[in-house]
Every structure is written in structure tokens, then in C-alpha cells.
């Protein structure tokens, strides 16, 4: 049966301004969406996914303009329609769910007030009815305490719940189309499942059409009827989900599929004195103990992955090892010798041996320093290199992280891409010639293809320089690809630890099992099976 067409986009071109020049972000994309259909848009960042999603509302961000093509929403030409008409549509017939619900809710108003704004402004229903409706939708989104959760402020609600509340809010006027812009990207895997299931159910119940934007293939496979792949503003291919997963036509699509295939076999368990040994560490802020009796070892040339949800104490462990947070009890041994608890008491040599790479390269690199100084400073400081020797070392390091020295040495961080910035973070750590590097979610902020590049680089460097890695992550795919040993943390305690293969094959603890099964798989029915197995779903 042929469904009715809801949205038609023809040859859409969108330009963005950088400086004085305009360049194309979306280069003539066609898109057709039927009523009640879910279309997945995938691609790396910069592919124009979000821009295209917003254009479906007839909206272009600041500094962008729609320069060509047509957008037809249920017989209304959104490009030609006056702004007032477009505003009347937005929120009422087309709704938008943003990536970060925490940043999108107004922190000064209660959830239910924000829920009611749309229906009341658009005159769909009066305030009392909207409130009753909100409670009903909160219930359908399976939010805890639906009767009262609306009367809380955004900061009093967890991230996953906020994202569901935002989806409920988007539903408030029963729109024909919802645009989901990476709604689960910022969430933990275990939370992601709840949100995905809730979104999928509500979209089906109301027969709403949706555009689902994400860079995670496994997620889009669960949600979408059809998938469109974008690359630098161009369409690569489009087909229904099942055939796209089974037989992608284009090389680029296949390369997206293959990303998760990078894996190196785990090395056998190491013997001898570990480089770093965390012994019965208890630490915390104020009166609260964030870490309770944490112990594990990291050996040379081995990668220990520390996994867990946010708030499980992964990053706090890193802060204890680096000395930023002196522990209350327990100690850190470095090559068998105890380290002073605070970094202020550690010698320069002790500081040199343990380096750190941060999650957000944007905030981890001083934006006003050139790469020469960013990378050169540790080498100058710890190894006493000067003049020509320093210059040579900086160039070697740039070559090591696969950036052309002549081209990059005098650049500022703002003149680099996200992946290149992260490489600079790595080079800065390497410049100190450490024995151990702490990688704190180093790939979380990056696209999958870029992620793979970083992981391969880290793996190669580990082999060449005999480095020990402590790899903090919530992404189990990353763990699968490069870890030797895994430490699972929850509520500040080590739940389980062991070699990668053993832990993945036969997790002993319930929590480990829950965590592992929550990782989206490239399988259409994964979510159904999982929910059925967990008995959360009819």
C-alpha cells in the first residue's frame, strides 16, 4: 500500500558562511518522507545531517542560508511561506528533539510549564488539559512518577529522563513529523536503551513520521524504516534498513559498517612489577566517598580499560593516579614504589612518567598557543631540549602522529579538525616520554572513522614505545578493539575485572552482563530481543 507523502525535499542546497565566503554545507539533497515513516540520517560530523534536519522545518541556523531547492511539507512550500506561517507549523506540526536535553530545557522553569507552552501558544488545548495530557505522555514514555515528575526543574531529573521528557514535549501537539537530532548520543548505554525503546513506542503509537539523525549505525538500525547516508553534504545512498544492513551498495557505506571491525587480540596476562598499581584506594569530595576500596594493576605494554556509566568513579580514579585528588585511604605504586598522594609533592621525574590525554581536545589544548609550543613545552621542560634539538623533536612527534610537520608546526588548535586536535593531545603526552598514559574518554567526542584512526595510532605507539595505557571509556566497542584487561566499575567500586576475552565471553556479575548486553548491535531485531529478554516490554 502506497502511503501518503508528508515531506518532500528537492535538490536542497544550504550554504554556511565562514568569514566573508559562503560554502555549501548541503549540496543538492533529495528527501521524501511518508506519513508515519521513520527515516534515519547517518554520516560523520560535518556531513550536514543536522542542517538538513533543521531545513525540514524550513529553518536555517545563524550564519547559514537555504540557497536553492524546495521544501514541501504536506502541500505547504516552506521556503516560500512567510515566517509567521512557518512559526505556526513549528512545534505544532513539526517538532524537534535536540541532542542535549540538559542544554535545551530552560533551567528556570518546571518541566510541565515548558511542556504546556507549545499546546497553549498554538491554541491546541487549554492549560489544564495540556497538564493532564503531559502526565499521560510521561506515563507512556515510562517516566517514573509521571504524576509529579513534571513539577520538577530540569536539574532535578537525570539525563535519560530529561531526554524522554523532551520527546514527550515534542509530542504535545501530536505533530506529523518529529526531528530527532542525536537524542541518545550523550547518554550511557544502559540509559540509551530505555530512551530508544520509549521513543520507538511513542512514535509508533501515534503514527508520527520522524527523521532520526545519528552517527551510530547500530542505533539507527533499531529505529528507522529507511536509512539515508550522507557524506560532506551529498547523499551517498538510500534504501530500506534491512537491505542497507545486508548489502550496502557504496564503498563509503561499507567503510562505515567496517569501523567497528578494528580489534587487536589481547596480549597474554603480564607478569612482573606493574607500572602502576592502585591499592585499596578510597577517595572522594567533601563528605562523600566517590571511590571505595579500588584496586587494580597496569603493566607495561598493556591496556587496561576502565568501563562504567557516568558517575561510576572512572575519572575520579584517574584523578587519584595523577595526584589531583589525594586518596583518603590506600596508595598508588609506580614501578613498585609508592607515589606521593598529591601531584604537588611529586618530583618532576615522577610527573613525567604518567601523562594524560583528555576527552575534550578543545579544552585540553590552550587555544592561544601554537603547536610548536604545545608539543614542545613538555620536551623542553622534562628533557631539557633546546633550539635545534627541540625543533627536531617536535617535528618527529608530529610525524609520529601522522601530521605533516612543515604544514602544521605553526598552527593554532583552532585551525585543526577534532581528530587532529586529539592527535596533538597524544603528541603532547608522548613528548614527555612517559611509561604510562591515561586516556580519559579520548574517542568519545569523535566520529567513528576518526575514532578508528586514533585507536590505531594509540595501538601502534603502544607497540613502538612499550607504553602502559589506562583507557577510561563508556564505549564498549572501544574496549573490544584495544583492551587487554577490563575493569568494570559501578558506584565507585570495582564490580569485576579480568582479561578481555574472559570478561566478554562469560561475565560473572549481573551488572557486567547488563552493561555488555546494552551495547547496540548491528542487527535489526537487537532491541526487540533484548527488551523481550529483559521482560520490560509486552
Amino acid at each position: 500500500m502506497e502511503k501518503q507523502v508528508l515531506l518532500t525535499i528537492r535538490d536542497l542546497k544550504i550554504e554556511g558562511r565562514s568569514g566573508d565566503a559562503w560554502h555549501q554545507i548541503v549540496k543538492g539533497v533529495d528527501l521524501t518522507l511518508h506519513k508515519g515513516e521513520v527515516l534515519g540520517l547517518i554520516g560523520e560530523s560535518g556531513a550536514g545531517k543536522s542542517t538538513l534536519g533543521l531545513a525540514a522545518m524550513g529553518y536555517a541556523r545563524d550564519g547559514c542560508r537555504i540557497s536553492g531547492g524546495s521544501i514541501d511539507f504536506d502541500g505547504i512550500d516552506l521556503r516560500a511561506a512567510p515566517e509567521a506561517d512557518r512559526r505556526a507549523l513549528r512545534g505544532k506540526r513539526i517538532a524537534y528533539v535536540a541532542q542535549s536535553a540538559a542544554a535545551s530545557f530552560n533551567p528556570a522553569h518546571k518541566l510541565i510549564d515548558q511542556y504546556c507552552e507549545g499546546p497553549v501558544v498554538h491554541g491546541v488545548m487549554p492549560r489544564e488539559k495540556a497538564e493532564a495530557d503531559a502526565v499521560e505522555l510521561y506515563r507512556r514514555m515510562r517516566l517514573p512518577n509521571p504524576d509529579e515528575i513534571g513539577f520538577r526543574y530540569p536539574h532535578q531529573v537525570s539525563g535519560g529522563q530529561l531526554q524522554r521528557a523532551m520527546t514527550a514535549m515534542a509530542m504535545s501537539c501530536r505533530p506529523d513529523l518529529i526531528i530527532f537530532d542525536e537524542p541518545t548520543t550523550a547518554l550511557d548505554v544502559t540509559t540509551q536503551i530505555e530512551v530508544l525503546a520509549a521513543i520507538r513506542d511513542i512514535v509508533r503509537q501515534f503514527g508520527t513520521a520522524a527523521i532520526y539523525i545519528t552517527h551510530d549505525l547500530a542505533v539507527v538500525a533499531q529505529m528507522a524504516d529507511r536509512i539515508k547516508v550522507l557524506l560532506r553534504g551529498d547523499e551517498v545512498e538510500e534504501s530500506d534498513t534491512r537491505s542497507m544492513l545486508a548489502a550496502p551498495r557504496e564503498d563509503y557505506t561499507r567503510s562505515l559498517w567496517a569501523v567497528r571491525s578494528f580489534a587487536r587480540p589481547a596480549l597474554p596476562a603480564a607478569t612482573g612489577t606493574p607500572v602502576v598499581s592502585v591499592r585499596n584506594v578510597t577517595a572522594g569530595y567533601g563528605a562523600v566517598d566517590v571511590l571505595k576500596d579500588v584496586s587494580f594493576d597496569i603493566h607495561a605494554r598493556r591496556t587496561v580499560a576502565v568501563v562504567g556509566e557516568s558517575g561510576s568513579g572512572k575519572s575520579t580514579t584517574a584523578r587519584v593516579i595523577t595526584g589531583l585528588l589525594p586518596p583518603r585511604k590506600g596508595e598508588i605504586l609506580f614501578n613498585g614504589k609508592p607515589l606521593p598522594p598529591s601531584f604537588k609533592a611529586r618530583s618532576r621525574e615522577e610527573l613525567r612518567q604518567c601523562q594524560m590525554i583528555y576527552q575534550m581536545a578543545d579544552t585540553a589544548l590552550n587555544p592561544k598557543l601554537r603547536l610548536r609550543e604545545l608539543i614542545g613545552r613538555p620536551a623542553e621542560m622534562y628533557l631539557g631540549l633546546k633550539g635545534r634539538a627541540l625543533e627536531t623533536r617536535i617535528r618527529d612527534l608530529l610525524a609520529l602522529i601522522e601530521l605533516e610537520p612543515d604544514k602544521y608546526i605553526d598552527r593554532l588548535p583552532s585551525e585543526l579538525s577534532g581528530g587532529q586536535k586529539q592527535r596533538i593531545g597524544i603528541a603532547r603526552a608522548l613528548a614527555a616520554e612517559p611509561q604510562m598514559i591515561i586516556c580519559d574518554e579520548v574517542t568519545s567526542a569523535l566520529d567513528q572513522i576518526v575514532q578508528e584512526g586514533i585507536l590505531k595510532l594509540l595501538d601502534r605507539l603502544q607497540g613502538e614505545l612499550n607504553l602502559a595505557y589506562m583507557f577510561i571509556t563508556h564505549d564498549l566497542a572501544t574496549v573490544k578493539s584495544i583492551a587487554d584487561e577490563v575493569v568494570v566499575m559501578q558506584h565507585g567500586q570495582v564490580v569485576e575485572r579480568g582479561p578481555k576475552a574472559e570478561l566478554f565471553a562469560a561475565p560473572k556479575e549481573d551488572y557486567t552482563n547488563l552493561l555488555l548486553s546494552s551495547v547496540p548491535e548491528m542487527d535489526l531485531d537487537w532491541l526487540n530481543r533484548l527488551l523481550a529478554a529483559r521482560g520490560e516490554h509486552a
Binding site: A364, N366, P367
Partner: protein
């Protein structure tokens, strides 16, 4: 009618100066600086030209001025006619000469004062933000206490205690101004010290001085530069106000502030001569702010 003519002349002068100076800057800038000047707005090039002219006048004052700084050359309050192109003041000194020397004294002192206030204020402010704890509390509460006293009254008090030499004038106004700079620098730096790159630098074992100088200061420049423009002008006003009250630059040293006071009586006779030094201050103030706005725009990466 006359007003319109004056306005027209002023506009032509503005665009003339601005265009000529921009062309000159583009031509003579070193190659890697050329892009900076290419996108320069006319207001900024006008500002730069005016500041350059003031600096040249200040440096070459003895060559440019037709008479000596405090030389009595004729009768008092002579009208504008050669060889006293802008007339004479109440002691019979040449007005043009006094204006030229005034540039040297007033601008020089204002610059020294602002520079000192900024060096001390921003370093202490960043240091307090970086170290935190007791040091921050002590410094900040001390600064708060100083700021609670009205600036002009406090300067008057200090100048009465320490006497009115040029050096004590600079030190007194600088220390009063440094409190404001301290506040600003501290609040800006507090936002910067929590960044990961500062944590990385601390973990590297960098010293405080290097953290302040290389890691924090470059990132705090934009608001500090903007504040510099404002403070610079306020210092002018402070010096002028103090001179007007008789505690600023001592006679017979030429100073724009005192020149306004000394010749104020002429206003009652419809003579605009006393407004000339005031105008010189106003013009420099506007010029400095044009340049500062432009720098701020560039540093913050704002587009129109």
C-alpha cells in the same frame, strides 16, 4: 549654518585621515601582518592615525612648539593671530606651545599610569584566581576595602599625604586603578583556571609564573584590552580632575586639565580657547576606544 560647515569639515577630516592611514598601514605593514590591516574598519585606522599623531607630537614637542613650555611671550589673553596662532593664556604664555607640551605630559603620565595599573592588577588578579584559598581571600577582601573608598577622594587623600610629584601622581592613580583591574582579571581568570589545559599544565609541574604568563594571560587578553581602553581614558579624567583641584601636575608644567581651569574665564567672553585642551582629551579618548574596539573584535573572533 556655521555648525553645518564645522560638521562637514569634521566628517571630511575623519574619512580623509582614516583612508590615508589605512592605505599607509596596508602598504608599510610587514607581509604576515597584511591580513590584519586589510579588514581594518575605518574607525580603527582613524584611531591609529590620531594616536600616532599624538605620540609624534609628544616626542617631538621641543621641535614643533614655536616657544618654550613656560615662557611668557606676550600680553595675557591675546587673540588668535600670528605668531600666537591660538592666542596666549592668562600669564601670556603661547597656547599652541602649551597644548603641544601638554600632549607630552598628560598622555605620557596617563600611559605610564595605565600600564602600571594593568601590570600589577592583572598579575595579582590572575595569581589570586590561580592559587585560590587564603591568598585569594586576603587579596580580594583588601581590594574590596580599597574599592569601597571613592576613587577621587582616596587619590586626594593619598596625594595630600605623599605630596604632588609626578611620580607620586602616577603611583597613586595606578594603585587606585589597579584594584579595578584586579577584580576584572580575577573574574576572567577564574573561568580559565578550571580548563583542562590549565590542569594539564599544572600536572606537568609548571611554575605559577609560567602558568600566569603563557597559559592564562593570552586567554584573558580580550576583556583586559577592552578594559585598558576604558581605564586609559578614565586616567585622563582623573589627572585632569586632580589638576583642576590643584593636586595634579604642578605649574608651570603644561597639562591639559589645568589649562582648562586656568583659562576657564575666557568662556564667559565667548572665546573657545579653553575648550581646545578639552577637545584634545576627547579626541584621544575616542581614538583609543576605536582601536580597542577593533582589537576586541579581532580577539574575540566576533563577526559583524
Amino acid at each position: 549654518m556655521q555648525v553645518l560647515v564645522v560638521l562637514a569639515v569634521a566628517l571630511v577630516a575623519f574619512f580623509g585621515v582614516a583612508l590615508v592611514s589605512r592605505a599607509a598601514l596596508r602598504t608599510f605593514a610587514p607581509a604576515h601582518q597584511k591580513p590584519t590591516f586589510r579588514d581594518m574598519p575605518l574607525t580603527a585606522s582613524f584611531g591609529i592615525a590620531v594616536i600616532l599623531i599624538y605620540v609624534l607630537v609628544a616626542v617631538f614637542a621641543p621641535l614643533l612648539a614655536p616657544f618654550k613650555e613656560s615662557e611668557v611671550v606676550g600680553a595675557q589673553y591675546l587673540p588668535w593671530a600670528a605668531p600666537y596662532y591660538l592666542g596666549t593664556d592668562k600669564l601670556g604664555r603661547d597656547m599652541l606651545t602649551r597644548l603641544i607640551y601638554g600632549a607630552r605630559n598628560t598622555v605620557g603620565i596617563a600611559f605610564a599610569t595605565t600600564a602600571l595599573a594593568f601590570t600589577v592588577g592583572s598579575i595579582l588578579g590572575i595569581w589570586a584566581a590561580l592559587v585560590g584559598g587564603w591568598l585569594d581571600q586576603w587579596l580580594s577582601r583588601f581590594v574590596d576595602a580599597l574599592m569601597a573608598i571613592p576613587a577621587l577622594i582616596f587619590s586626594l587623600l593619598l596625594l595630600t599625604i605623599f605630596g604632588t610629584s609626578v611620580l607620586s601622581l602616577i603611583l597613586v592613580i595606578a594603585s587606585v586603578d589597579a584594584t579595578r583591574v584586579y577584580r576584572l582579571a580575577r573574574s576572567v581568570a577564574q573561568g580559565i583556571v578550571v580548563m583542562d589545559y590549565i590542569e594539564a599544565a599544572r600536572l606537568r609541574g609548571e611554575g605559577k609564573w609560567r602558568l600566569i604568563r603563557r597559559e592564562i594571560l593570552p586567554n584573558a587578553m580580550a576583556p583586559l584590552v577592552a578594559e585598558f581602553g576604558l581605564r586609559f581614558c578614565f586616567v585622563f579624567l582623573s589627572i585632569s580632575a586632580l589638576s583642576f583641584l590643584g593636586l595634579g601636575i604642578k605649574p608651570p608644567t603644561a597639562d591639559w586639565g589645568s589649562m582648562v581651569r586656568e583659562n576657564a574665564t575666557l568662556i564667559t567672553f565667548g572665546d573657545i580657547t579653553p575648550l581646545l585642551p578639552a577637545g584634545a582629551i576627547a579626541l584621544l579618548t575616542v581614538a583609543v576606544n576605536f582601536v580597542v574596539d577593533w582589537q576586541l573584535h579581532r580577539a574575540s573572533g566576533l563577526k559583524e
